[in-house]
Symmetry: C2
Subunit: 654 residues, 2 copies
Amino acid sequence: MSTINEAVNIRKITPVPLKRVSIDGGFWLQRQETNRNITLQIQYEQCLLTGRLNAWKLDWKQGDANQPHRFWDSDIAKWIEAAAYSLTTHPDDELERQVDDAIDLIAAAQQEDGYLNIFYTVVEPHNRWKDLKDGHELYCAGHLMEAAVAYFEATGKRLLLDVMCRYADYIDMVFGPGEGQIRGYDGHPEIELALVKLYRTTGEQRYLELCQFFVDERGQQPHFFDQEAASRGKQPSRTGYAPYDHYQAHLPIREQRTVEGHSVRAVYLYSGVADLAAEIKDASLYEACEQLWNHMVEKRMYITGGIGSTDHYERFTYDYDLPNDTAYAETCASIGLIFWAHRMALQSGDSRYMDELEHTLYNGTISGVSQNGSRFFYANHLEVLPAAHHFNTLKFNKTAVAEQRQEWFGCSCCPPNIARLIASLGQYMYAEGNDEAIIHLYGESHASLNIGSQHVELQQQTNYPWDETVSIQVSPERAAEFSISLRLPGWCRKVQVKINDQSIDCIPLMHKGYIRLTRTWSPDDRIELILQMPVEAVEAHPEVRANAGRIALQRGPIVYCLEETDNSTNLRDMTVSLDEMPQARHEASLLSGITILEGTASRSTLQNWEGKLYRRAVAAQDDEAKELVTFRAVPYYAWGNRAPGEMLVWVGKK
Amino acid sequence: MSTINEAVNIRKITPVPLKRVSIDGGFWLQRQETNRNITLQIQYEQCLLTGRLNAWKLDWKQGDANQPHRFWDSDIAKWIEAAAYSLTTHPDDELERQVDDAIDLIAAAQQEDGYLNIFYTVVEPHNRWKDLKDGHELYCAGHLMEAAVAYFEATGKRLLLDVMCRYADYIDMVFGPGEGQIRGYDGHPEIELALVKLYRTTGEQRYLELCQFFVDERGQQPHFFDQEAASRGKQPSRTGYAPYDHYQAHLPIREQRTVEGHSVRAVYLYSGVADLAAEIKDASLYEACEQLWNHMVEKRMYITGGIGSTDHYERFTYDYDLPNDTAYAETCASIGLIFWAHRMALQSGDSRYMDELEHTLYNGTISGVSQNGSRFFYANHLEVLPAAHHFNTLKFNKTAVAEQRQEWFGCSCCPPNIARLIASLGQYMYAEGNDEAIIHLYGESHASLNIGSQHVELQQQTNYPWDETVSIQVSPERAAEFSISLRLPGWCRKVQVKINDQSIDCIPLMHKGYIRLTRTWSPDDRIELILQMPVEAVEAHPEVRANAGRIALQRGPIVYCLEETDNSTNLRDMTVSLDEMPQARHEASLLSGITILEGTASRSTLQNWEGKLYRRAVAAQDDEAKELVTFRAVPYYAWGNRAPGEMLVWVGKK
């Protein structure tokens, strides 16, 4: 167990901000370009088309089409935030004009008292602050705060920041323990982490204190949601359909030890809690985060970094319940997991958080957007049989669980969320401290770091995650002693490090999963890192029922899957031997360049099955009933970009 | 493909009626006694308690408690039918008095014009015959007709039979192709098979013709359900939530080739269609039945004889979709499958229908009632993990999918259905023809058959299904030549037959799955049949995703399962080798006497898994990660009668 003191010490390490990181090529440049050129524009058009943008004019009236939804505000907010990150690294007048126009609408929508919310201004004005449990008012406010901070950081323009400070001031007046104030909190966490951002940008202590108020109040007795229900003349709904664990409000946060309820709510909340713990140096909050994190990654996380095992309330279910075909694994939840992981990584200095961040990033997160940037998954299944999904679509009548990416959703939280993540990727790669530069993530890029009083350029040249080699050019202004800490990925079992072509023994240099290279660094020093990337089979804990007798294929941080278009149907029947691991081969022309796996699998012939659904199984029959076939696996994130059909992550173990 | 001519020839074989069959001991006597002493009484009390019985007084008024449901009538009807079968073989004054009292109430509830239905008399009288699609009026009528016939056959009492003939006459007036008649049919088939029973008992040709009308109209265009919806000012609902295949009304019956929609509706319908085909000698109807049957048993039936793979509309889904934990496999559906199988068996003379009947009977049907006769499954899962079911109960909020048997259900179709099946079991065992006696099912019993002009007693002495040996005493009035056809069960790979201790070569005697023993039979002739019953592993078709890499254990007609109470938790992780089949052992004191299986399985140790959800899988690691354990399997039908916990039918194949 880490203590907050330890965490606080390490907190001196801060991420290198987006504007000092440049992604120059490779895997992420391609995605950022698609994000900028396609995704952001498509989302702007969808916001126009669906009425989300113009809803800020507040001219909707009962009976009009396109009734604003309770969290439409957040869709625009996330789009602005994504655009802001993109503008930080890639100025674009047209995009900036679109954002400015949107911000003008938003600013004009702010009420006299500072209040700012579409739904509760035009649809249900009489219900302002009356349904904190499900109304999403503070959730929307939080997303707008994040947008305001990002846009200010990107452009220096203060309009939205000022609007949101005014709104925050008003919220701070409305909420609190004082007489006449609402002693409550939002059913959907988000404002907590947003208030910390606003505090860090403005230095306004009240925003941090308001965050602490929301965090401290959550789950206390008598229960705010009960009181709120009572004040609206309703029965409290503590149990049953959506119990309070759905909102992570079943217990005070410091007493929570298992991740429960709605998965997006959970990871947004714990991200804010981790921020708060760092700012106010609260060991009990930090410990809660650490234990909740451990519970999540040890019992309730898909191998893709997906979380939330069921469409039912998009929630965590029970330990080791990780069904593949009905996996929910919402894109937003994996993104929130990345937020949380980043905060834990910075505070703990432990590489295991960045391991999960990287793993989630390359698998269950970017699976949420199509190769061409224009279609999105809400739920990220780990197994797809079109017939089953056709039937489920009939059953649930919702596109969130669709087996192919969709253009948009009624509740369209995921598309702008993936856009802001991709646009902001640079901020996760590097961190800096007084005497230390840290490389968290590998990828073609360069960054300007401030190490103590000195300016250091780091440049990565690599075709990671496809290639094993990362070459790092170190360029301090002048020769100086400091450390460069390189994350040794958890998936990597064999590493070689050379400094200026001289091999280094890493073992004595390991520090919480990082290879700490401390020396006097001179301009033109070069580090070469070789992270061996064999194809590996991964098995799940024996209590994961869904994966009994199955393995997943992985190479580096990439989890693979089989698709029907490469392997025909009935993928679940295939078995792969641990003694014959498939071979990796790069295919530059396939899906913008991916490394595929090719190997031999065994599958059933359908011989002697005519007219039978069941038959006697005898050992001797096994061989004749099976045939060897060649199979091809592609990165999980890249699936569903070719012909629709079956997909499978966990293949049978021969 | 059989032709109807062939079928019609064989139709001269008729089942030996219940009153000429006596179950003297063994497996079924025990169940019939429990059914008579416990189940029937409990159901009577539930009908009293829930208001079902007194609802016939028609004194319910808007605002009263216990609003009658649209198909309450059928619950009482099935209870009367069950009681009638029981009274046929076991006279019981008290039970007969209860039935007579109920019938008095029902008779008094009949309206002037002959109409008879609780809901549409007291709750929605204005909607009589207005919602055939979902109203269940003719469905309820059908069950009351079945009850009337059964009670008349049992006791000779005509009151209910007369009431139902009057109702049938009224229905015959209301429905038809003529002017002013409703050219439609019920959304829930049942009246079709009931009208054939009524016709066979009364000889009234109009009842058969009405059945034919309902069968011929079903699924024709323009669609009756569209017209009905239009006449109520509603939009037709051909597609979406409950398309017409739910009602088997998507196509005319003669054009249906795949079993679709609500599984109970399907098997009730096709039972009636098979009856009609036989009565009117319609080859196209018979062929449709045959193809629908083949589709069901080859693509959409659980190994337990369960049908209907999902709680969503209790329906068939798509080919090879047979999930175990979310199996619906409603008890009523397996019972309906037995009805259909019996009709197909009698018409085709082919043992494969009785094979499925027997298999369904011993597995997915009697699993629906507890050992003590007082608790019931609605859905019969093939795999249970209590945590998952706890969560599903939260999600679906219904007891139909519960993981433990329940005392009763809001929609309580299954309990009285299993009661009538068990009480009527004798009628499935024997059949008779001009020159042939047929034994369809084995079990301690004796029967009086009419073979041509001669009276023949057959007596089975056996501990079937636990023992392999069936001893049959043949007692014709006098020596005479005729055939005795013994079904060779499909599960049996090795059989020995002796007549008066002399071995017989069966192979030349096989006829459509029956061993036809033709000779001059004399009083005191004795047949000994030894049906070898090794423990066998069964595998499912490779396209059954849920069972990939898994086997089920079976001995004779009994499918086995593993329970937590015998084998600890995480059953899905266990693997069994085909080279080491478990041993059978009879346990006279366990669950009223069952044969259990005991063997060796391999299961994961949890060594080196601390803090991990995923890890690298390597071949060499396999052995140390596994340990050998002894396991015990019990008959599937008997599960859930001891400590609650996990249950699994399909175990991993090592």
